[in-house]
Symmetry: C2
Subunit: 624 residues, 2 copies
């Protein structure tokens, strides 16, 4: 069998959302890359909801796209309903979201991978990680004082063949020693109908990587033929769907509607009566799940005062009747799931095609990582995605892109890619993971970013594509497109500065909240007005946001500096968090549990946001 | 857990090609049906080649369609290349074949299942069969003299829930105790990347069902980006693609080409040098595989004189670069598979995405079945598909339809559906299975049908749709369509009989080989000619074939009767089969191995065709 050895520069294990972006990025940077995954028919599969984006997550997709990734293009090609969330709020809060045709999305991601030069996509189940002692670490200083540093040499796959490479990106998602729960029933597997991976967990532990357990859950899927949509509220997509990718000019496909229904008092009663049979409450599951994608049983307990919750009936694709019920993630027993729908308007006769379940899996606490997503313990081993204790396709894809890029840069002996918190949500994400760790599955929110007026979804290309071009992550088409846009922005800005209306420049005029772009165009003399009116909408959006938010951004920068200065103030041990009425429920819970010594420690607690810290700081000042 | 019990009339286990047709048929007949399958994402999945139909198999698809099944409609909707095979031969030999977009095909089958009233498609892994002693069998006479008859009551699934029904159709394909081989490497699983099913095998054995092992294999898949198509020959689809379904008026989608290349002397040398590492030759696999889909290593051994074999590079879909290499099914070790392509024109730099492998699995020798596909031992338990020792999607789908229909008829206390050998290829298929058994995976050929001039692909609707209508298998749309066609056939036939040209009726004229339809139209007086010219092509095809083949069909009937009369003549023990130079290679091999006592026994040997028997009979007569 010695002849079954394959040599690559970079290996990526697992072709989920993290793995596909990792492999594409490594190959684009120039590394000869292999992407190994258990089953080629599940490349880029959406384990849970058939949707991409959202507030915070949508920004990440735009950043992945700006860095040359696949997610934005794939959802633009296969989306069935596009909505820009939070449009009534400021630009920093806008979040693009789209429903996907789940199978088409997956096929499109696979196709993009197949088309990538330098990249071999191969169906393989990885069973073991291969290492050798490293005489000296390739990093300047070894993170571990004691003992020799170990270095990756490759992996062994099912059937015995070996893949050799100096850099390996592990993106095995929810599959490490995975156990699924539906009520009292427990079965092994990382996704219903699929298997689990235990060899890799053992390898990691042998190599000294610490593993912990998290859980996540998914709702039941219904047969749309058995739903009475006339009892539900229709939710159409945006009339002018906005693409995710900076390369997509326009979304042309027809959109399909979703439907909204809700839980009822009777259904809450049912769940409450069966809580003792829910693995989360019976003690059968002891690990934490994602607070922000709570199961329905969690919602009933945590928000006991509410007597209904909205449910979204989301089609899983154009060519299937299968419907995802957004809002009832659950691991309640089957009979409770069946009975539940009998009490939901429109779903009284609905048939379940797949039951909801929870899955518990190993993750590696991310404080074991460097900011490049390379493990501190093992030279050349990178982690990305769910394995780092995160949740979400977008978070996984973003980490994959960073890890894959760094793996390729490392084997080429080039400087690594580390994004700052002021540069990208991806910078915030990675920094949060490696400096704060996680105590529940980590999901992105705009509130995690201190500089979120800088990190808008609309300017991700301006923030990141030039850097991506230097690294070789994007092709010339993308770089050229940005250059043209930048030139137009500059031209428009110059024009607005140079043109005056009743004593003030048009730029100064536009700072006023009530003055929008059409108003500015009207103020300009005819020739200039024509020029302004003909400008591309993408460039105009940037010019408007740059001018409108200039003041806020300056203030925000100041605020951040102040926070950093004051963050080390002590908090009295007996401090009464009850007084902070505006403190978020989660923040209060965590602060009470951990009782941090000072604001610095408080700010490092996972899930505590800069806004929480400001609030706390204000109260500490006031109470002095 | 007692509350997790679901009640149905009919259960179908496994949503492959057999299971989907079985469940659709049972539901159409009116039974409340559940289709339970391990993973809803693999419903209707093509395990091996992305194509439907062929000579013999295409006829089955037409019959499935005439009986209201899904396969024909699904391939019409998702085919990417259509070809009518054997067009130069007579109508009995025409076989429609189409390449499928594999994933679109699967999605379409799933959608048809989701849309079916009375049918619940549910993701479940079946682990156990549930039975009870039956005081008296529901069949008039028990097939087993000794002991009580056992009756199905349902199944138990992963996680412990139970499904109850009096009729269960088992269609678990290649998944029973499945073991995959690639060279020396062995892994458990019924299809690469998936698991195996062992509980069901144990249940069956406990219930007294005899299980045997077969094997089948699949070729490697390549990344089309790495193939040099300019070194291959292009193979386009038919200019006028013919639909499979009698409901489809026209195929409108664009077709994509396949490419043809070939093995080389050097590649044969390579395989020969590595035969000792091929599981089929090393002794690692001892079971039989399908003679008519031989592995490349089989071909090199059995046809040692040939120094090249054609290979077809078939795209797996419109939106993927993955390519199926038709012609190199193999379980040779990976390094041999890699090296092999280096020697194939156009594939010198081709990258393998999935390696070829063989799979060994349990099947239940089909002589344990009645002609309804119900097992003799267990009341209410039906088998269909690969589990009966057959191979092929079409054979599986056809059996599924028969078994599902019979399961539904049984629970409704209605007469079963048994098709005669003169009625349908499906009649031949089932009769072959239950009366002859199998000693290698059974595949359909036109040569298996004695009445193949009756069983043409073009007249499947006329043969079967009226029967299907009686059973409730087809909707009124289909039945009406056939009635209109029948009326037109009758009208045209009457017209041809009544219209004379130079003393003979047009019908008599058309019996002449050189007289085709346009010629007949020209012979008619203007008014009749106009009427004939305006007739629908489907009706015309029937009228022409009815008239043209009338004589042959009569002769064939006579021939069949004669064969039956003489089939019991003795064959001398020392009979020299070498003298029969026209005897097929396979037939000689089998006759030599078994040395049947008489023609009756010879005719029952699986794989021995009526044509072989005629030949043998002629020689026996001559040698007397
Ligand atoms: C039941 C369930 C519910 C979820 N609910 C939510 C939710 O509500 N909200 C949310 O944001 N996210 C949810 N998720 C998480 C979401 O699916 C993940 O965040 C995302 O898929 C992570 O991407 P990934 O690339 O890290 O891993 P995955 O998408 O899981 O991909 C991992 C890949 O690795 C492959 N693999 C595993 N082991 C091996 C091996 N040994 N060798 C080769 N390949 C291997 C797998 O086949 C798979 O292709 C849920 C996931 C599951 C399973
Ligand atoms: C490697 C390979 C190579 C092949 N090569 C050829 C070839 O060259 N030529 C050819 O004609 N045919 C070939 N075949 C066979 C072809 O795939 C089958 O003939 C056809 O798929 C049989 O259909 P089926 O419905 O009987 O089974 P399948 O299509 O195998 O479907 C079985 C279904 O049952 C499900 N299932 C299994 N166990 C359970 C359970 N316990 N509970 C619930 N569901 C279950 C499975 O998930 C699957 O959906 C090959 C198959 C394989 C795997």
């Amino acid at each position: 069998m010695s002849s079954n050895v394959y040599h690559f520069d970079v290996l990526v294990i697992g072709a989920g959302h993290a793995g596909t972006e990792a492999a594409l990025a490594a190959a684009r940077v120039g590394a000869k890359t292999a992407l190994l995954t258990t089953n080629l028919d599940t490349v880029g599969q959406m384990s849970c909801n058939p949707a991409i984006g959202g507030v915070g997550k949508g920004q990440i997709v735009r950043e992945i796209d700006a860095l040359g990734g696949a997610m934005g293009q794939a959802i633009d090609a296969t989306g069935i309903q596009f909505r820009m969330l939070n449009l009534r709020k400021g630009a920093a809060m806008h979040g693009p979201r789209a429903q996907a045709d789940k199978r088409a999305y997956q096929a499109e991601i696979k196709r993009l991978v197949e088309e990538q030069e330098n990249l071999s996509l191969r169906q393989e189940g990885v069973e073991d990680l291969l290492t050798e002692p490293a005489a000296k670490a390739s990093h300047a200083q070894s993170p571990l004082a004691e003992g020799p540093v170990v270095r990756m040499t490759g992996v062994r796959v099912r059937g015995g063949a070996e893949y050799r490479a100096a850099a390996v990106v592990l993106t095995t998602g929810t599959f490490l020693q995975a156990l699924m729960h539906t009520g009292e029933a427990k079965t092994a597997g990382g996704r219903a109908g699929e298997g689990t991976t235990s060899g890799v967990s053992q390898s990691l532990q042998t190599l000294g990587i610490r593993l912990e357990r998290f859980k996540t859950g998914t709702p039941p899927r219904l047969n749309g033929r058995t739903i009475d949509y006339s009892a539900c509220e229709i939710q159409p997509g945006d009339e002018q769907p906005q693409p995710f990718s900076f390369l997509t000019e326009r979304i042309t496909q027809a959109q399909v509607p979703c439907y909204i229904t809700h839980t009822t008092a009777a259904s809450h009663e049912l769940i409450r009566a069966n809580l003792h049979r829910a693995p989360m409450y019976s003690g059968q599951i002891e690990t934490s799940g994602p607070r922000y994608c709570p199961s329905i049983e969690d919602k009933i307990v945590r928000f006991a005062e509410k007597n209904q919750h909205q449910l979204y009936l989301e089609p899983e694709g154009r060519n299937t009747l299968e419907v995802y019920v957004n809002g009832v993630s659950t691991s309640l027993p089957r009979d409770v799931q069946d009975a539940l729908f009998r009490m939901i308007p429109g779903c009284e006769h609905a048939q379940i095609m797949r039951y909801g379940y929870a899955v518990e899996y190993d993750y590696a606490p991310p404080e074991q990582l460097r900011a490049t997503l390379e493990t501190k313990q093992i030279d050349g081993l990178y982690f990305a995605g769910q394995i780092n204790g995160t949740t979400g396709y977008e978070e996984a894809g973003g980490q994959g892109l960073i890890a894959g890029t760094n793996a390729a840069l490392k084997v080429a002996n080039r400087e690594p890619l580390v994004l700052g918190r002021e540069q990208a949500y991806l910078g915030v994400l990675v920094d949060d993971l490696v400096t704060r760790g996680v105590d529940e599955p980590y999901r992105m929110f705009t509130s995690r970013a201190e500089y979120r007026l800088l990190l808008r979804q609309d300017n991700a290309d301006r923030r990141l594509t030039p850097l991506a071009e230097q690294l070789g992550l994007v092709d010339s088409r993308r770089a050229e497109k940005l250059r043209a846009k930048q030139a137009e922005i500059l031209r428009l800005t110059t024009l607005l500065d140079a043109t005056r209306y009743e004593g003030l420049s048009l730029a100064e005029r536009m700072r006023r909240p009530e003055v929008d772009w059409p108003a500015v165009v009207q103020m300009a003399p005819p020739d200039t007005a024509r020029e302004l009116a003909e400008a591309g909408p993408a460039a105009v959006e940037q010019v408007v946001n740059d001018i409108k938010y200039a003041g806020y951004i300056a203030r925000q920068n100041f605020e951040v500096e102040r926070q950093q200065r004051l963050a080390s103030k002590p908090i009295p041990a007996e401090f009464d968090y009850g007084r902070l009425v505006h403190l978020r429920h989660e923040a209060r819970e965590k602060l009470l549990r951990i009782r941090p010594r000072d604001l610095a420690q408080a700010s490092r607690i996972s899930g505590i946001t800069p806004a929480d810290i400001s609030l706390l700081m204000a109260h500490l000042k006031a109470s002095r």
